[in-house]
Subunit: 381 residues, 2 copies
């Protein structure tokens, strides 16, 4: 089919061989550690990717929106965890999923949300599995297994008592691992995540409540956890693609980043020493997370040989909606001749979950660097 140079720009490229390798390594790692892999599809939002990511495991997936759940349900996925705190106003969408034959698992850290969901589910004649969200250091959502131990047990009792809910277990996400400054730091966070979620499970079991599922995971902790005793499933997501953020914390290597943004060079600004492209803040996102670790990452990194950053570290120094401005660190004269106006450039995403979300599809790079397929994505809500 298409050669990369004939694709419209900006667009999202997905290297199939790298994706497959990333998926296989994580699946094998989880098997070796004795846990089920329930990959988080919030990054890829693609059924083709989900089929690769679930290979060798039980087929369950995690989603971040009910629209994702619906998309995957229509494509044959039947075991779906919606890993964002549920509120009763979404009961209609959850019921529709159940009527489509999906086991849709809900999440909460709120007594009010659980109690009201139970009432509404009962009124609609539905029964939903529900998990309790636990905080193991991220500080975003979830109950603390030490200071809020009583709340965890009380919430477990309310869920277990309800005829319209089934207490499925406990869930945590060690989001703080994205800020782990070294592999050793990530290993320590992985152990905090494991110990914390197992402690929460023990609280429920100690109170005579069921807790069949103990769910944890982020890409960095899934990549570096040395021991997952007591955990039953892991939910990494970004590992399928990788990005500059993950590379900088050691959670992937640059040559294992599967997704890049393809852009056209649309101008040379000789006065400001910037190469201008048509991939701006929308095509790349305005996520500047990697600046925590490297000030010269801007809005994305230009690829050189083998998908790695170039030796001169050309990067996206500035963006506006549809313009990106490539510069060298320190503002040196950029390599104009390597990037003529009308030429192409590939950009490694800072945070691929954000970057991919602006695009409706992936152009899949197969054998010999040719574009072999176009895969869809489900965006929005």
């Amino acid at each position: 089919m298409n050669n990369i140079n004939s694709l419209p720009t900006p667009c999202l490229l997905l290297d199939r061989a790298v994706l497959e390798s990333n998926c296989r390594l994580m699946a094998e790692r989880m098997t070796k550690l004795g846990v089920r892999l329930r990959p988080h599809m919030k990054t890829a939002k693609s059924a083709n990717v989900a089929r690769l990511a679930t290979a060798g495991h039980f087929g369950g997936i995690t989603v971040s929106t009910l629209r994702e759940a619906h998309y995957f349900a229509e494509r044959g996925f039947t075991d779906i965890l919606y890993a964002v705190g549920f509120v009763p106003s979404k009961i209609g969408e959850a019921s529709t999923l159940q009527e489509m034959g999906v086991e849709i698992i809900l999440l909460t850290d709120s007594m009010k949300a659980a109690a009201e969901t139970a009432i509404q589910a009962a009124a609609m004649g539905h029964k939903f599995p529900m998990m309790i969200e636990i905080d193991t250091g991220d500080g975003r959502c979830g109950l603390d297994p030490v200071s809020e131990a009583g709340d965890i047990v009380n919430l477990g009792r309310v869920i277990h008592k309800s005829a319209a809910l089934e207490l499925r277990g406990v869930l945590t996400h060690a989001g703080q691992s994205y800020h782990g400054a070294s592999v050793e730091a990530i290993k320590a966070i992985a152990e905090d995540e494991r110990a914390g979620i197992v402690a929460a499970a023990d609280l429920l079991r100690g109170a005579g409540l069921p807790c069949p599922v103990v769910s944890a995971g982020s890409t960095p902790t899934a990549r570096y956890a040395e021991n997952l005793d007591g955990v039953t499933e892991m939910r990494p997501g970004v590992y399928m693609f990788g990005d500059v953020d993950q590379a900088l914390i050691g959670s992937c290597t640059y040559d294992h980043i599967a997704v890049t943004v393809l852009a056209s060079v649309i101008g040379h600004n000789r006065r400001t020493k910037k190469i201008v492209t048509d991939a701006g803040g929308l095509a790349l996102s305005k996520d500047i997370g990697p600046a925590e670790f490297d000030p010269d990452t801007g809005y994305g990194t230009v690829t050189g040989k083998g998908g790695k950053p170039r030796a001169d570290r050309l990067y996206v120094a500035a963006v506006s909606q549809e313009h990106g401005q490539l510069a060298l660190p320190g503002g040196a004269e950029p390599p104009w001749d390597e990037f003529p106006v009308g030429g192409r450039v590939r950009i490694l995403p800072n945070h691929v979950c954000m970057t991919a979300a602006a695009h409706n599809s992936y152009r899949v790079i197969g054998e010999a660097g040719k574009i072999t397929e176009k895969w869809d994505r489900v965006n929005g809500w």
Copy 2:
């Protein structure tokens, strides 16, 4: 139709009365200043909004992608300026638009892009109007009317000489106005923009070249320019909706922001003093532009009475992909009871061009605060 409380979240709300007022005021202002309004549709990306924005003017619009151009062409718009530097690889899309009956106007600041576009257009039997991009202080794209005066004339000659191109004029965008710290600063930038683009037009005319169109404009400069002598058209865009960025530079008032993100409260984190919602980095964008002017703007501002920020300045202090965390400046205890779990909250966007782009539609608020319509948007490329 729907009440706001029955809408799925997160979603984009558009207040029709505010939109209409914003469009009318700008259209009247441009008429009074003696210029044509060619509204930039990169913010709204909606035909319904474009019809309101072009009312009282000639019907021409500006777009930021060729996909937008195609969408508007299919909906009856026939005079479309693609205001991003053109490269020859996009000639197929431009030709399709022309075959649909659209006058698609191209832009360049590159001799190479112009010359190659001329060759390809000729080969395809097409002729395109083309404008020269001029830099009047923004520093992103365009030739400088003083230091690159010779380049401007040379580029004009190449375009004018080509049988497949027609020299339509000069264009600038004073993007630096978004950083204007006061109305006086914006007025000065508006005059720089005017004087610079008129100087570029004079260069072409002085060399015996045609320059029928002299195009300028950003929302701040269109809002505050006192004199547009020599300018023939203005291209503001974000004024239709407004946002926190524009409010902080005085380019709109908070009660004239037409677009908000509707979110559900999904949790109360008592330990971190954060109210958690389902509008995260995707639904709001990660644009933190307003932090230049106010450190407590985070990723969005919660609305109070009349669409203005609340007296306590509750704002989106942190986001992850599908989670937003509301906090008070200084970390005081938030007003839990006003925002119960399961309740709704409306958030003013930092930079509405970025925020709106994650959403596929607008829920339009009409009479008596009821949702009366759903308007589509065209995203992607």
